[in-house]
């Protein structure tokens, strides 16, 4: 069984190589954001001046606030609408339910380039136009299916007898939902909400087509800056973004995983 052990060792080594491939560029970008040379020259000399420079960049700060605002509102709307829809899909049976569930996949599967340009055309045609409101409309629609899928997965672990028991003890529909069902699916709702936040906060393509010069989000602003030329400032703000979104996903994994086991 020596061969088996050698093969397993090679397998482990391989996984670490893959992780290196996945993380090295990100780590290098983060390191370069602390490097003195604006042309990424080595040797490395430590500085935080690029982070300090971010505070002076009003355009980036405004775009950051827009991104946070839109992500928070998207999260709130998606968790409420998504949880309601998941509950309905779980509780009731009706004709066309399969169809409604199938409708959740086009928004996930169709490339954002197509969805984004279609939204641009339609919003322009009906007079909504471009801007932050249009971006919000788009983000909610993109994130909703994820929330419904995540909350529905949590609902699969719910025992309907609990609702029956509460009802037979005299609880009305609202009490059953708020005291029995909602507390049970809460980990799913929180995970779904974090997903929604991540989808919105990291969204670039759809925001790009729906933004106007004054009304943009952070990724759109970064894309514009990259195309003008690379600067360590972009590294600094990119590093912040990547740390924030990874922390968010770790949080989501915690809720979704530990929620699922309980």
């Amino acid at each position: 069984m020596a061969t088996t052990r050698i093969l397993e060792g090679l397998g482990r080594l391989y996984i670490w190589l893959l992780l290196a491939f996945l993380y090295l560029p990100i780590i290098i970008m983060a390191l370069m954001s602390f490097n003195v040379s604006p042309f990424y020259q080595l040797p490395f000399e430590w500085t935080t001046e690029w982070y300090a420079a971010l505070w002076q960049n009003d355009q980036l700060i405004a775009a950051t606030w827009n991104s946070i605002e839109i992500a928070v509102i998207t999260t709130l709307i998606c968790t409420v609408l998504g949880s309601a829809a998941s509950l309905a899909l779980y509780r009731y049976d009706f004709r066309g339910k399969k169809f409604l569930q199938a409708l959740l996949f086009p928004p996930i599967a169709i490339p954002w380039l197509i969805t984004g340009t279609a939204m641009l055309i339609f919003f322009f045609g009906v007079g909504i136009g471009r801007g932050l409101f249009a971006i919000l409309l788009g983000h909610v629609a993109l994130a909703l299916p994820y929330v419904i899928v995540v909350v529905s997965a949590r609902l699969q672990t719910f025992a309907p007898e609990l609702e029956e028991a509460a009802r037979s003890l005299g609880a009305n529909q609202w009490q059953v939902t708020s005291r029995v069902t909602l507390p049970w699916i809460m980990p799913g709702v929180i995970a779904g909400g974090l997903f929604a936040f991540a989808v919105s906060f990291d969204q670039f393509v759809v925001s790009y087509f729906l933004s106007t010069p004054g009304q943009t989000t952070l990724p759109v602003e970064i894309y514009a800056a990259i195309r003008k030329g690379f600067t360590p400032e972009i590294n600094a703000v990119s590093t912040i973004i990547i740390v924030v979104s990874m922390a968010l996903m770790l949080l989501t994994a915690r809720f979704f995983k530990f929620g699922g086991e309980k």
Binding site: E8, G11, R12, Y14, I15, L18, L19, F21, L22, Y23, P25, I26, I28, M29, Y40, A84, A85, A88, L89, R91, Y92, D93, F94, R95, G96, L103, P107, I110, P111, W112, L113, I114, T115, T117, A118, M119, L120, I121, F122, F123, V140, A141, P160, E164, D202, F204, V205, F209, P219, I222, I226, R227, F230, S238, I241, I242, M246, L248, M249, L250
Partner: protein
Amino acid sequence: MAAQGATATRSGLRSALPLLAPAYLWLTVAIFLPLSAMVFFSFMTELSLSGKPWAFTLGNYAAFFSQSLYLTLLLASLRLGLEVTLWCIVIGYPAAYVLAKVLKGRSREAIFLLVILPFWSNGLVRIFSWAMVLREGGILDTALNAVLPFKINIDLMYSYPAVIIGLVHSYVPYMVLTCYLTLQAIDDSLIEAGRSLGATRLQVLKRIIIPLSMPGLVAGAALIFVPVVGSFMEPRILGGRTGTFYGTVIEDQFVAVFNWPLGAALSFILLAVVLVILAVASPVLRRAA
């Protein structure tokens, strides 16, 4: 469960509607109506809202078929999608196998999370991070020259390989995820049985492991191929002048040339291609579900 089903059917759509309506109304306004509008616009000569007179036309589609440029670019994008998907299989499948069958317990959980994590972080920023590695005088160049005895110049930035590297980096976690899920479901005793009946490792891989994990491979391939064919930001940042693909031409119609009807037609053709591919993949996927 059966009793629940019976009461549920009776209450039916009327009870479900108030809970469902807000979510599906939103999806209709922001996804389904826009997609329909795009089809409509693709048959117009002008944008009706610009005030100019407009008429129905097949001209936008005629442009696609008469100018070989668009078809060439679509083929280039399909080839890009194919190459990226193949690389993701070559790199991702063995990793998924190690995760599912070699690693155990906590280390498996931790490494799985580490593989999936970047894929939920900002895609634009991850593509940008490669610029630092690939350019001349970048990390790859410096590192290789420090190790190698002879002088070489590595300047992959703004080239086709740079686009491939960036896209594979972005999408390989999908492949690891979907293959891991199907590989994990394979019963170890099947593999042991095959081995004890005298099959070599290669035979076990070819006759048992790969056929049983096929749904994961197909799902991963579809999840990667479709967005890569429609990619435009990655070729723009890493490809520079060589980074002209079907997606970048669509982008141009909307943000630079302002020929929206043509852009809509090109988008719709892409959508049709994507739907055909998903339809071809769906029987395999359904068998898995």
